[in-house]
Symmetry: C4
């Protein structure tokens, strides 16, 4: 998923002039109007998220519930209009709608409407904070985007190893969880295998709430094993990611493709294709 915003807005050629202007204001941040719009947007997002958080606090809701309800609907309608305008002025509306930002923009208004049917879901509008990712573009935080890109690249490169690690952890967790269920039995809080698995995850990840904890000697011995295991195997993902990062951060691979054989993956300092020898 790309964090760069290219939601189909790069090609509004055949648009009517008023749509072109609207596009520039909403999607670009180069003109004063565009910048102003973006800043206003971020302020609105922060205000609406703050309102939702305040609304969730019992004492505040009791006193200002009415006001916060109005504020919430005000921002939701505002964002709905904005979403409509975005769809309207973009060159390829569908491409925007299914892009990362398009989906977040949609998800940011759904919960309030949904709360008419399912009370309580309005709190999910906090997903709006994802919209603030645009801040990177507005504040010209491009170097940060670059770093984020590097990090993602390192994580993606180590994806398979991490998948194998996760699979191993999940298998261990199911096995140990069931074993603890048999050993500790239901009278000590291990009331079912799923709950025992929950306990095993709490223990293996070294979180350790203490809402469930082993009472028998055998259970405590097994728990000790799980703890030392969890304490030790944290080294595995750390090692994977560190090695991958050290390779990603160091090795600069050129994005150049060979003009002859189209092979990619050449080093940054290569002058000739390493496969066919053609000049790059």
């Amino acid at each position: 998923m790309s964090l760069q915003e290219d939601d189909g807005q790069e090609a509004p050629r055949s648009l009517a002039p008023w749509r072109s202007v609207l596009h520039e204001v909403i999607f670009e941040a180069d003109t004063p109007a565009g910048k102003g719009f973006d800043v206003l947007l971020i302020v609105s997002i922060l205000a609406s998220v703050a309102a939702v958080m305040l609304d969730s606090m019992g004492a505040v809701r009791l006193q200002y519930g009415r006001l916060l309800y109005v504020v919430e609907w005000f921002f939701t309608l505002l964002f709905t209009v904005e979403y409509g305008l975005r769809l309207l002025c973009v060159g390829r509306p569908w491409k925007y709608a299914v892009s990362f930002y398009g989906l977040v923009d949609l998800l940011a208004i759904i919960p309030t409407y949904l709360s008419l049917v399912l009370p309580g879901t309005q709190y999910l509008v906090v997903i709006r904070i994802l919209r603030i990712l645009r801040i990177f573009r507005i504040l010209k935080l491009v170097p940060y985007l670059g770093e984020a890109h590097l990090l993602m690249q390192a994580l993606r490169a180590s994806g398979r190893k991490i998948a194998v690690f996760l699979y191993t952890v999940l298998t261990l967790v199911v096995l140990f969880g069931s074993l603890m269920y048999v050993i500790e039995s239901e009278t000590h809080g291990f009331t079912s295998i799923p709950r025992s698995i929950y306990w095993t995850i709490v223990t293996l990840t070294t979180v350790g709430y203490g809402d469930i904890s082993p009472q028998t000697g055998l259970g405590q011995a097994l728990a000790s094993m799980v703890m030392i295991l969890g304490y030790g195997i944290i080294a595995v993902p750390t090692g994977i990611v560190t090695v991958e990062m050290s390779q990603t951060f160091r090795r600069k691979v050129s994005t150049q493709a060979c003009p002859e054989c189209s092979a990619e993956g050449h080093d940054d300092d290569a002058c000739h294709c390493k496969y066919c020898g053609a000049k790059l």
Copy 2:
């Protein structure tokens, strides 16, 4: 222990034709019948594990206990027949029986029979999920197997260092545990040395249930030391594994020098010098 399935089935030369066919269906995943069998197997495994988990939940067992009991025995008998057939159609039954998958296949059916003697042990059939490791072979997840192999290699290479580390941790844990037992005494929950050692493991691994915690000032001071120690020495296994992985994963750079320009540092798969284009 190898995750690749070569449980003696690679040489069924002198088998009767029907055993050959059976072998292909059960052990291979190349033919449609073989693939179908594997998929069916995985579904059965997941269903039987789900049944056991449901059975462990009090409310569910109360209502569907009878049904789940039948389901469990159905799958156990099914897997027993399957295990028999595997033994029958494999070239060298004994080699299969003592292989990793052979043992898991056996362990996956024993608990249900055992539960006739020792009630409660039927929950251990969750070990069946280990059978799903075959999924890697079926879904052609060979690259994942390769990654798993690499990880294991790195861990094995650092085995001795980790053993030394574990030995040190266990020694520390016994010493600190006994010290805490003397300091906090039995009135504060440290009722015996083994229990104090359990507490020390809980603390050193930064799990921290809080079911036992020091009450005296001296005990809290010592506990603080154990925490900072545990917080710090996690760096040791992490360092060991990271260094070992970085050596195991190291991108293979050829030691070949270009015959024309003597440049070095070519990738392993390069056919031409990346600087002058000469054939390597």
Copy 3:
């Protein structure tokens, strides 16, 4: 922020002789008088911090409260006089006043005066322990300062990546927190979104107090996800810092080639080629 003390005291040229002497005693540690002053200062700081800590313990305050109150004011007045003298004898008082040590020196006396208006704030004088950083200079612990400098350099170099990581963690924490608030509702201790976010931080960082913990199955499943996430992504800052450190600390290998045998890889301090013995 530099830990080296160059608070403007390097240029007391045009000062009256008595101020010069005072400057040497207070700011330098080369003369016996200067060294004695510094040692006295550290003892005073430790004594005053100890007094505050003792004062915070109910039983001790009950018995020695009067005495500790006197001690506190004694040290505060002492440090106030010292602060005045420092301002007086330094060449550029303003530069000292806004330097790291100048600010700490000021903050170290404010809380006692503030406690006349806001009772309780006198405990904040523990900030005095920051003054002890001077110990590095006095005890000639320059190599330690060098190491501290190296560490800071590595952290600063990875600043952007860590900022991206922190931003991601904070976003995740807000999203998961709100989700848990909706799932668990107020009856299970998740009384507001901010409190849910607090719980999410407690869980993601694997602290796990257990003062709030999920009760519903869905909540526990989501909590498990947060735990495994927190357990896994610790690898990201660790990887970042490790890679950055390995680049900062890298043993300095000279890029010089031997003029005789063209061998490379000589240490930075080598004068002769380690292979043929020729002068570099």
Copy 4:
């Protein structure tokens, strides 16, 4: 501190023959008698530690207390005699007495005698397990000793950096602890600054017992900061140790000194001194 046993026993030249024989049996593991003695010693140590652990368990002590008391004294007297013999047959008794193993041998018998004066201290005899370190020598686990040596070397090389890190952590812990004491006040369990510091350590190291936890909003916000800080800065010691290990494990520095200028620290493949150019 060296784990290799060279407690002065390497030079028993001028000893009487019976002392020579005794020395061989007790200190060496090459002869059958010496090996037998060592195995017997380890069994005795394990038995005595097990006895102490059993004695600490209330139910066991109630029933077998008398027996365990006798067992404890039997082993203590045995080890006392052994300690005496070691002193007797070693070439330089004083050097042995102050060596690592000599001190452990002494500490392993003191607690039982001490318990006559201070009841309860007999549990400290678990320090006897340190005597089992000899196992490395007996079982010819020299490669493990080598690994242990490498690990220690890496830790020692990073000693200064870790000291700086520890100093920073301790300063942070005192500052945050005092701040929390002022914010949460005594009614929420933060009854004194030392106790608040204890809580801060519990939180920063991500142990999180939950015996004390912040109740106010401001306290929870500050606690969140401490948690994220603790979650993040674990990267620092990990990075330090990893980098140091990668250098210690890789770089093989020859122990050769230059015959001309006595300089040391030459690389393994060096043929000439890098300082004066003389042939090594």
